[in-house]
Symmetry: C2
Subunit: 473 residues, 2 copies
Amino acid sequence: MELTPLLNKQLKTPLYMQLYQYIKKEIETGGISPGTLLPPIRHLCEHLQLSKNTVESAYQQLTAEGYTESMPRICIKVLPLEKTLMPPSQLKVHTNREPKETEQSSAATYDFKYGDIDLSHFPFKTWRRCLQNALDSEDHDLFLYGDHKGDFGLRSELAKYLFQARGVRCVPEQIVICSGTQNAVGLLCQLLSMNGRLVAAENPGYDGVRSVFLNHGCAIQPIGLETDGINLSQLAASRAKLVYITPSHQFPYGMVLPIQKRLKLLEWASRENVYIIEDDYDSEFRYQGRPIPSLKALDKKENVIYLGTFSKSFLPAARLSYIVLPSKLADEFQEKLGRYSQSASPIIQKAMFLFMKEGFFERHIRKMKKVYQEKHKTLISAIKTHFGNDMEIIGEKAGLHILMKTGRRARDLIHKAEKLGVKVYQVSDFWLEPHESSSSIVMAGFGGLSAAEIEEGISILRKAWLSSSKQER
Amino acid sequence: MELTPLLNKQLKTPLYMQLYQYIKKEIETGGISPGTLLPPIRHLCEHLQLSKNTVESAYQQLTAEGYTESMPRICIKVLPLEKTLMPPSQLKVHTNREPKETEQSSAATYDFKYGDIDLSHFPFKTWRRCLQNALDSEDHDLFLYGDHKGDFGLRSELAKYLFQARGVRCVPEQIVICSGTQNAVGLLCQLLSMNGRLVAAENPGYDGVRSVFLNHGCAIQPIGLETDGINLSQLAASRAKLVYITPSHQFPYGMVLPIQKRLKLLEWASRENVYIIEDDYDSEFRYQGRPIPSLKALDKKENVIYLGTFSKSFLPAARLSYIVLPSKLADEFQEKLGRYSQSASPIIQKAMFLFMKEGFFERHIRKMKKVYQEKHKTLISAIKTHFGNDMEIIGEKAGLHILMKTGRRARDLIHKAEKLGVKVYQVSDFWLEPHESSSSIVMAGFGGLSAAEIEEGISILRKAWLSSSKQER
Ligand SMILES: Cc1ncc(COP(=O)(O)O)c(C=O)c1O
Ligand SMILES: Cc1ncc(COP(=O)(O)O)c(C=O)c1O
């Protein structure tokens, strides 16, 4: 440990006394706790630019008064105080969220949490080796700031991947690596000077991104959904110059925006000079029908800003996402945000680059598609088996979650499930304003649970919900 | 590789023909390059939900027309085209900065680049082991999103460290881990709803942070410097409710704000209800006198928002920094930014936690203080030896850089140095408006060079500058 008191030579109190008083006070107020070893005299002299005498005198005084004891080899140990230690009052912070969350999640046996992914099939060994190889690199840049837009190799691999998997044609210069989708949207708000301006967004939609817009001073214009996705005439009527949309899997409803609507949307955007932010967060995972290329793939006039993330397809803990900018915005990015350093670690980026380059990423996705498809099938059939017609399933086309709708209040259902150790989630936050439909829908993410756990979880849900519906009668 | 064409069953053109046309066009326009292996038939069938026949027919057609050739084991390889491949025109992006930067830095033999750090004393082995141990963790949370404010263990270690090294008293709940100082300031702009509001900042000052304020719609009120730091009466006159300041080492001038001024500043802030952002970026490295505790350490009324970074004390590539929030702001953070996921990787955070917990961080800093002090001494004495009174050294108290001032134009000096393979830097960006003093100052970071390189670099500077000053006559 080190100590950094404020010592003043100009004062009448000698330095050793000032040091002694400082340490004493810290011991009394709990800043330094019993059992702590004070810094060796030599270190403290060096650190504080004091003479050996000064520090020694302060330590002797403390020991003389019973605050500390000398240990062999010039260690000084802090002793317990008689009275209870009062932590200084300013150190109390009321935190609403932190403890609650930890408590809850540790209690649940089956947690259908959206955002969790399958870790049992994750290639930990390979990923570890990629990290290791990155760390073994001779390239010193890897340990400094790195390219401000992100590792060039990673961006090149991404350009290839996006073309092959999503039909996106871009060069690495258009790609900006970010540390998560919210980080990306924050940068876009700055790039497009969105403060005080209107953003159109699907309602319901992803609250995580919406809060970024709001915190950047945007107003959100909620746009309703039709069975095949965003309502285009409402959108046109909004007169917004920026739209945030999840066309591959509408979040949270899961519908896929059909090709005709995509073309209409793009035509409108080009006519009205609108930028569309396409959040393609989990498009890798679809279980029915043919893949539809991204909106960006159809974007001839460069109205689409494409967002992707490694959080679903790889690992949330990589904290890696990316923007594909239209080329005119790529120049503007350079000008306006060119002084920003990259926020994702070059080490993680390099490891990800290696993982992609060696073909592991492609293989991983191919495997995970099957894994999640299996889980998805299990989930749907478990719900059908246990609930039959009592339960409507929404969002069967979404990638890693579904919605369940009953005639009953979501809040009660969630509470009842939790009592039996199963966590499912409310969806009300996805609506901009409190909304009736949300009150009878619960959300179940299935990425983090095994097929067997999904089965078991749903069967417990039945117990929780059916028995209680009897009680209700 | 994977392909994601837009196929439409409703069209008259059969699916195999659509697929064939798509691939053919991609080959022709360079989207798929010669030598590429097309996906195995089985994969493509699965991916596109097509029959084996359809894919086979498309591939056969391509091979028949000489675009591809069949390889053993059902691989299909793309052949070179006769004509030169024209990359699609939309793929050209004008990038001002990227190639230029790489060119330049590779050319220089001695690069006095601010931001580079000493890597030759970095404990790579220990850091690698910490990362390894983090990856071996059984804790699944480590591979998901992690705590939105950052790893709790890391925040606890930071609270301890900040108390010991900087006199900051805080609890982990007040700490928010960020992915760099700019990321931190971006979050603060949102937290404090800074759009359209005034921020007072030292002039000259750190342009990296200033650009974040500007991009969040703030106006910057430049505050002049005195020999002992920020001009307090100018500051008071500004009527700003937020100040960004570098009190430990003014950036770029390096002066230390004395204790009397600190107390006055705090008193004013508390009286006027002002928040002070204290950027304590490189306070670990001071080479003269006793350490002064941070402004935050003196902040009884909780007006100071403290910023720290691991970029100087550890590794820029960790991309880890932190905010210490006053407790009332910690609550507000939860409310307003509580939905944001953490942007630093939980893996890196855990490794950093282990590195701190085991005492390596403290040891590292103790060592690096000596290393940098030695370099600093070498630099100063080399300048004195080679330039004598022709060169004024400014910022001798700064941590990892100094400023050199001559009567001559910085731009010429930089250019002349570069020709002989030495890079030093201009400082004009640190002034909010073009400013006369900046034109004769050059900046030299010394973190990344060894003592011998510093010696040699400065002696080359003398050659570059003295010989050319003769030419000028
Ligand atoms: C619609 C949507 N976009 C993006 C993300 C992923 O965000 P990130 O990249 O920050 O992990 C999510 C995850 O919850 C999401 O639901
Ligand atoms: C004044 C100042 N603050 C902070 C930083 C560090 O920023 P980061 O944490 O993004 O590496 C620097 C580095 O250049 C700086 O000069």
